[in-house]
């Protein structure tokens, strides 16, 4: 259901202010969403003054700097730092993206960092993605081929392989799904752009023999048709993919078959 306001325990309060200690002239204010599960208090926004003279170019570098030099209690997910793993997905400057591929120079004014929107927060910038992974499992993201002589290699023409371009590159960082208002209001039933893009990836795979069942499974008022082409997903995708178009293609396939 549409609920514009945050629940009482999620209202964000003003937090601590960490003044710069390096005496640097190039200072930037970084506002970070913080929540400590052991405190029993509401989430807060802590403000850090960060010395930009000695800081590499990405938002993840800013966070690393804060954690290493200012406040070691800050929690966030990260791994590869090259936009491949999808761990450091978060909301920066009001837009979802990967902290490791977003330049802080592209953000004007203070840098505001929040966890991915409309998720249960585990700690600080870490959101709970269990629901999304369960939905991902529900579309059965593996090859289904029931041929009897499945010892042979399954061939795929170059043309059929090309159909997977723009779908297989997805790293499941959840930037798109958590940017989608439809997913905010109906995340328990609507599959969301990330999972639907993957559903599309298996539907159009020429080697997969379960196409019809896959289509039928996804053809549901709530699972699929909650997409109202708001296009927040396409705008958010850090890999430049187009989940909205994939969803439209699924709708088209359902309308024409």
């Amino acid at each position: 259901m549409v609920q514009i306001n945050l629940p009482e325990n999620s209202k964000v309060q003003k937090g601590q202010y960490f003044k710069d200690k390096t005496g640097s002239k190039n200072i930037r204010k970084v506002n970070v969403y913080r929540w400590d599960p052991s405190s029993g208090k509401n989430p807060r926004i802590d403000t850090y003054e960060v010395d930009m003279e000695n800081c590499p170019s990405k938002v993840l570098d800013v966070l690393n700097k804060i954690k290493n030099e200012i406040d070691p209690t800050l929690s966030y997910r990260k791994s590869c730092a090259h936009g491949v793993c999808g761990s450091c997905a978060m909301n920066m400057d009001g837009k979802n993206g990967l902290a490791c591929t977003t330049s802080h120079a592209d953000i004007s004014g203070d840098i505001n960092i929040y966890p991915l929107p409309h998720l249960k927060v585990k700690k600080d910038l870490i959101g709970d993605l269990d629901g999304l992974y369960k939905q991902y499992e529900s579309i059965e993201p593996w090859l289904k081929n029931n041929s009897k002589n499945n010892k042979d290699e399954i061939y795929q023409s170059q043309k059929d392989r090309e159909k997977l371009d723009g779908a297989y590159e997805c790293i499941m960082c959840a930037c798109c799904s958590t940017s989608c208002p439809s997913y905010w209001w109906n995340g328990d039933k609507y599959l969301g752009p990330a999972v639907l893009l993957q559903a599309y990836r298996w539907i159009i795979d020429s080697r997969d023999e379960d196409r019809k069942e896959r289509l039928q499974k996804v053809a549901d008022e709530l699972k699929l048709y909650r997409c109202h082409t708001i296009l927040n997903c396409t705008n958010a995708c850090p890999k430049g993919l187009n989940p909205a178009k994939a969803i439209a293609e699924i709708k088209k396939m359902l309308a024409t078959t």
Partner: protein, 127 residues
């Protein structure tokens, strides 16, 4: 732990862009249009009551407030129609690239005003 976890901010922090603005405006104008169609039905029903009630509505529509409402309705209809045409094109699978969707969104916004002016001029028999 499960119940204590706060919900991360969503619409409070997320930035708007052309497509999301057009999308929400389509919904709002859609609701307005349903209300307006109901009102227009009432207007026609009033005609059955005779000349005096017709004169009353004419008086209202000729007042500044009435004109504002009438032009507002025209814009609401214009916007909704254009935006739905954009959606129809999207349903065919076109216009999903970020640049194209921004462009069509801006076209919808600008042309909704142009269409409003055109309908106004046509209605006033100025063109």
């Amino acid at each position: 732990m499960e119940n204590k976890s706060p919900l991360s901010p969503h619409i409070q922090v997320y930035k708007w862009h052309v497509s999301s603005l057009v999308s929400i405006a389509t919904r709002i104008t859609g609701i307005i249009n349903i209300l307006i169609i109901t009102l227009i039905c009432f207007w026609f029903a009033f005609l059955l009551l005779g000349e005096s009630s017709y004169e009353l509505i004419k008086l209202f529509l000729n007042s500044i407030f009435g004109k504002f409402i009438a032009i507002g309705i025209t814009w609401s209809f214009s916007f909704h129609i254009l935006s739905e045409i954009r959606h129809l094109i999207m349903d065919l699978g076109y216009g999903f690239e970020i640049k194209t969707s921004n462009l069509t969104g801006i076209i919808v916004i600008i042309f909704s005003f142009i269409l409003t002016i055109l309908i106004y001029l046509l209605g006033r028999q100025l063109i």
